[in-house]
Symmetry: C2
Subunit: 195 residues, 2 copies
DNA sequence: ACCTACCTAACGATCGTTAGGAAGTATCTT
DNA sequence: AAGATACTTCCTAACGATCGTTAGGTAGGT
């Protein structure tokens, strides 16, 4: 593999595990079998390396999400929503991207706060917008069954964050279980008749 | 205020904002108006300072939770659950404890992983147990209305974690709004008739 | 001839930590 | 009551280690 890519991948793992301040270029270089200053042939600084890792992660996540909704365009809404949770959970499981993504979103390095948030907020906004219109449009087959789309969207994001937390804590098995238990409650909640 | 307490409080703020690796004893000392080595008159190491801060936070959180359930022993279940979310959200807003608590739970410093998790897991287990028995017992006035207590407990924890995330992201106003939007969905979900 | 990708050596800064001492306060002895 | 003793709490100075980064050089490919 390309050396730049190798460094980026190693950096991702270290940033995910130790955070920006805790990760050291020395250790990253060691993982790549090169010396510390050699990193500077590919990246101009630690900040640069971090931000490029960040960019690639956000881009991949965005692409994956769009792809999911494209592929499942015609599925029933309930299935599409639950499948989305499952696909997110599986993607996050694949490598260090989840920890990196969540860690950076929750606790960005203070010196790079603005740069990070300029990526995080649009990502979250796009996600909320996508979800809102999805729930407002309802299911193409069964018609509109969500009475309060905005409330349902907000609740779904809350549910999703709760799943994310369990991915961090408990890993694959426990977060999968959470989806199985929490999603039916959510779905019953948003489809129940009035209050 | 006592010097030890002053240091502990300053340390809490710094650990919350910059993480274990990102926080420096120099800056903590500056905030207290003393020199860096003077910290060692009160704490034997950075680890020691961190772990004592951790202990005090967990202890306070535990006390507050117990106190809430004690005071609201006779309230209706719905009110008690929603009030719990609100009280947690308010407590977390008060000072740096929330950020510290959540940051440490999600991303403990690698060198102190075991010590941290020896506090985190019992805390979470106790919370889940308390909640399970609460939901299984049902409401003292209106009788048992939760059909699947374990599922409801798991979903409630997921909901709570989702609120926590929004406290980190959006602060008081947005997390309060999340409670208003997501809790009714949860409650409708766990009280709806069958599926 | 230049460029890329690596190297060694070393820079200044900062990290947590220790040594050793000064001042203040409390405790014990005479 | 007075003086000696010990303990607490702060200080300055400095330690070795590690941090991100730069300078300068070398080998190989274009």
């Amino acid at each position: 593999m390309n050396s730049s890519q190798l460094i980026l991948q190693a950096a991702l793992a270290h940033f995910a595990r130790d955070g920006y301040e805790g990760a050291s270029l020395k250790n990253i270089a060691d993982d790549c079998g090169i010396r510390k200053p050699s990193i500077y042939a590919h990246y101009s600084s630690k900040d640069d390396l971090f931000l490029q890792a960040l960019r690639s992660v956000f881009q991949r996540q965005e692409e994956q999400i769009l792809q999911y909704f494209e592929e499942n365009r015609h599925a029933p809404l309930e299935e599409r929503l639950k499948g989305f949770l499952n696909s997110r959970q599986q993607e996050y499981q694949r490598d260090d991207e989840a920890r990196f993504f969540l860690r950076v979103s929750f606790f960005p390095p203070r010196t790079l706060y603005e740069e990070v948030m300029d990526m995080v907020y649009p990502f979250l906004d796009a996600q909320e917008l996508r979800l809102s219109s999805l729930l407002a449009a309802g299911c193409p087959v069964h018609g509109r069954i969500i009475r309060r789309p905005r409330q349902a969207a907000s609740a779904f994001l809350t549910l999703m964050d709760g799943i994310h937390v369990e991915i961090l804590y408990g890993g694959e098995a426990r977060s999968a279980k959470r989806i199985e238990q929490a999603f039916p409650v959510y779905w019953a909640g948003v489809t129940s008749k009035g209050k």
